[in-house]
């Protein structure tokens, strides 16, 4: 599927490809077109007085990129940094941000009709940022609108006055 074919397409109009990753025991999917690259974790430079889920900034080939640990953001119980810890570099509206996840599993195509609306449950994730739930056999995939999630005010990634 060509890149051009995806632009302007809505969820209901056909299948999209998702990059899936794991946080603790949950599995998430994000639009693959927002992903710039995937890297191993390297300790970032800490930024004082930033929220705890912002690990700091790293040097991505000359660009200063903030790193958000999704596990801290989503209150995962176990947060460790080992050789499997992965950083997904996202390009959202020409701003680059990296997210730390436990591991990247797959790239998969999901037809729009296989998406189920997420029920309203109490969660740390803003329900607006959840596109829906997909099922992979007996596993559940949480599809995120990563752009909306990262631009939320609580992420403190962009200047307050937008």
């Amino acid at each position: 599927m060509g890149v051009m074919g995806k632009i302007g397409e809505t969820i209901s109009a056909g299948a999209r490809e998702y990059l899936t990753f794991r946080l603790d025991r949950e599995e998430y999917g994000i639009d693959i077109l927002k992903v710039q690259e995937i890297r191993g974790y390297e300790p970032p430079t800490r930024i004082a007085n930033a929220p705890n889920f912002i690990k700091g900034v790293v040097n991505l080939r000359g660009t200063i990129v903030p790193i958000v640990d999704m596990r801290l953001k989503f209150n995962c119980s176990k947060v460790e940094y080992n050789s499997f810890t992965v950083v997904i570099i996202l390009n959202l509206h020409n701003r680059i941000v990296g997210i730390v996840v436990d591991s990247v599993s797959d790239v998969m195509e999901l037809p729009a009709e296989s998406l189920k609306a997420a029920p309203d449950v109490d969660s740390v994730i803003d329900s607006d940022a959840v596109l829906g739930l997909g099922s992979l056999g007996d596993r559940m995939l949480i599809l995120l609108d990563i752009e909306k999630l990262m631009s939320g005010l609580d992420m403190e990634l962009a200047p307050d006055v937008v």
């Binding site: 004082a48 040097n59 080939r61 307050d160």
Partner: protein, 731 residues
């Protein structure tokens, strides 16, 4: 020729000209700026041909382009300007102030018209009818012009003129001299001094190899390092020089006419008409190539005199020869326009700044990678890895050279900034009824483009200040025993790693007493014992003004503090020097570029922070008992006779401590906004040049941090915002 032009604009319908519009607007803007600059520097009594020709060329370029693109209102106005200028440069009229005024106004009007076209024709166009009328009144003059120029001025006033029209004059001149254009000439060509005279022998082969070039015979030379040839040719000197350039440098070739009667060689045109700097233009006279009016870009080039410009030495040689051959044009006047045709833009290209920045970024990464390699290779045994290490040394040198060259791309000369002042000052001085000379020095000094843009406003303010407050009214100046005309000098120079820009005036300077009185009035803490330098710094306080009368020019007291803040934001400093009755001097010291900064790296815990070296005053080791507290809160340290607030970086940045044994015991005194504070750090790691990176492009502004940089090991280090730290200590 007029037909040829119309054909050109007519075919513009199917040939999309719009892609050239932007280039035209830029070039026209530059030409108008240049014209304005030259008009302002024009000395009315002694205006020389070079200046007048230059101004004419600018108007002409704009007109040519405007006509090509179908902007008839601009073309009409510039055409009138051109007609007036044409008569000026041919000395049929004597330039006067009224002309300069109307030309300046016309340049403004042209800018307005162009801006309107650029915006797609929206908005009202500035009225030009009055200007056109005024110019034509001035241009009509009262001096009866000589015969030949009547012909050409008629040519000039055809409503739709083509760029090639100017080239008509050479024909007239040449015909007036009653000399056919193409004729075989006998020349003596002297080549030397050469290190290897054999090189010149290759010239002989040229004549053999190129059919129709002419005959060459070697003559005996009285100097061993010089060769002399007799040549029979129909080619112009310029063509010959071009050919010879393959073998010998132009500067070493001297061409002399053997036949003295052939007084007007083809280059005569180049001399009578500055616009026709390139002899290639001659070919347009009787047979304009159809492509020329169609393609506007080369057209501009010709009239800028840029691409076809002969090199100065060649121009001088030719000019001198013509002069000695008894031409009516004095050699001096003839040689000058030829030299002025050589403009630096001849070999420039326009590149989007974003591309340059990308290049700088890439080179920055290369430098970091190189530093990493260098670091890792240090452990290698030189005996075993000799080749690798040699390669790395080369890489080191090449990377540095590359970085330097790439950084220099962003550098632009200060003349870009300076050039806007003469006009402003002229208007201002007229308004205030003062007489002011404006002198600039060091226009060629180069500065980062980003800095140039940001320094313009503060400088404008300082220059306006000098004119308004500094320079006295002419009568007062005479009374004070000074010349009636005041002088404002703007200079720029490199000093070490920074650039120093000075605004000087010879006005009445600042009065120490007045400033102190004013400061007391405002309740500021001052004493009569303050050194001069501190007194002068008082005027940077917000709302401070010593002007007795508030004018719309200045005197409201807003400004100097803004100037200081703007310059501090560029990591620069301001100093004032003044002597009452003799004038004052404001010096601005700026780093050469915003992208690279001299930094001092300090360690706190396991973290590294960078301090701008420009704000570091001193550093020292401190004993724990030297720090005293005030009200159990703020800490102060006594440095010599001064108590300074202490800022513990560890606390400000909440640095985690893994080693409880270790504690900060080094103080770094920094100065910003005229205040000093002492920063408490663990260790000083060293000084280095750092490439400043923006945190906000992907993240957000971080308190007390001005940016980030990448260290030799690829890690990010944050750069401290000293201004914010100092302000923090005050509250």
């Amino acid at each position: 020729m007029a037909e040829a032009h119309q054909e050109g604009s007519g075919s513009g319908v199917d040939f999309d000209l719009s892609q050239f519009y932007q280039i035209f607007f830029e070039e026209a803007g530059e030409n108008l700026d240049l014209m304005e600059q030259m008009l302002l520097s024009l000395n009315l009594e002694t205006a020389d041909d070079e200046e007048l020709n230059g101004i004419f060329r600018c108007a002409h370029s704009v007109k040519g382009g405007a006509a090509t693109f179908g902007f008839s209102d601009v073309a009409e106005l510039t055409h009138q300007m051109e007609s007036l200028l044409d008569r000026l440069r041919r000395h049929e009229l004597q330039p006067n102030a009224a002309m300069v005024d109307v030309l300046l106004e016309s340049a403004d009007a042209s800018r307005g018209l162009l801006a309107r076209h650029q915006a797609g024709g929206e908005g009202d166009s500035p009225p030009t009818a009055d200007l056109v009328r005024r110019i034509s009144v001035l241009a009509s003059g009262n001096v009866a012009p000589p015969q030949a120029s009547v012909v050409s001025s008629q040519q000039m006033s055809t409503p739709v003129t083509t760029p090639a029209t100017v080239a008509v004059q050479p024909v007239i001149v040449a015909q007036a001299a009653d000399k056919p254009l193409k004729t075989t000439r006998s020349l003596e060509i002297r080549i030397g001094p050469l290190d290897h005279p054999e090189q010149a022998d290759a010239i002989k082969e040229l004549f053999r190899d190129i059919p129709g070039l002419g005959e060459i015979t070697a003559l005996t030379s009285n100097q061993a390092d010089t060769r002399v040839f007799a040549v029979e040719t129909s080619s112009s000197d310029e063509d010959l020089l071009d050919l010879f350039a393959f073998h010998v440098s132009r500067a070493q070739v001297a061409i002399k006419e053997l036949d003295d009667v052939a007084a007007v060689p083809e280059h005569g045109d180049g001399l009578f008409d500055g616009a026709v700097g390139s002899p290639k233009m001659v070919s347009y006279d009787d047979d304009p190539p159809p492509g020329a009016p169609l393609a506007p870009l080369p057209g501009f080039g010709f009239f800028d005199g840029a691409p076809g410009a002969p090199n100065p030495s060649a121009g001088m040689t030719v000019g001198a020869v013509v002069g000695s051959a008894g031409s009516a044009v004095p050699a001096k006047a003839a040689a000058k326009p030829a030299a002025s045709v050589v403009q630096p833009e001849a070999a420039t290209i326009r590149v989007a700044i974003s591309k340059v920045d990308q290049l700088i970024n890439l080179v920055g990464e290369l430098v970091i990678t190189q530093a990493m390699l260098a670091q890792n290779s240090r452990a290698l045994d030189p005996a075993l890895y000799q080749q690798l290490l040699t390669g790395l040394t080369d890489l080191d040198r090449n990377t540095r050279d590359l970085q330097e060259s790439v950084m220099s791309i962003r550098m632009i000369p200060m003349s870009i900034v300076f050039s806007r002042f003469p006009r402003m000052l002229r208007d201002l001085a007229n308004k205030l009824g003062k007489k002011v000379d404006f002198v600039t020095q060091g226009e060629a000094t180069e500065l980062d483009k980003g800095l140039v843009e940001k320094i313009t406003d503060p400088l404008t303010h300082l220059v306006r200040n000098s004119c308004d407050h500094g320079i006295e009214m002419p009568a007062d100046r005479v009374r004070a025993g000074k010349s009636e005309t005041g002088t404002i000098t703007l200079s720029a120079a490199h000093q070490g790693g920074s650039i120093v820009i000075e605004v000087r005036d010879d006005g009445h300077g600042m009065s120490r007493e007045k400033i102190l009185a004013k400061a007391r009035e405002r309740g500021m803490d001052v004493s009569d014992q303050m050194p001069d330098s501190e007194v002068w710094m008082l005027i940077f306080a917000p709302g401070f003004s010593t002007a007795e009368v508030v004018t719309d020019v200045s005197g409201r007291g807003v400004g100097m503090d803004v100037v200081k803040r703007n310059i501090a934001a560029l990591n620069g400093t301001v100093e004032i020097d003044s002597a009452e009755g003799y004038g004052m001097k404001v010096s601005i010291r700026l780093p050469l570029t915003l992208a690279i900064m001299d930094g001092m790296s300090v360690g706190v815990g396991n973290e590294v922070y960078i301090l701008p070296l420009s704000s570091v005053v001193e550093s020292f080791q401190v004993k724990s008992d030297a720090v005293s507290t005030v009200g159990q809160g703020a800490q102060l340290v006594k440095v010599r006779d001064e108590y300074m607030p202490v800022i513990e970086l560890e606390k400000v940045f909440q640095v985690p401590r893994f080693d409880p044994e270790k504690s900060s015991d080094i103080m770094v005194v920094i100065e910003a906004d005229g205040c000093r504070v002492a920063l408490l750090v663990d260790e000083l790691l060293g000084q280095q040049q750092v490439v400043v990176k923006n945190l906000e492009s992907n993240y957000r502004k971080v308190p007390n941090i001005s940016g980030a940089t990448i260290l030799g090991d690829g890690k990010v280090a944050l750069i401290l915002d000293t201004g914010a730290l100092v302000r923090r200590s005050r509250h």
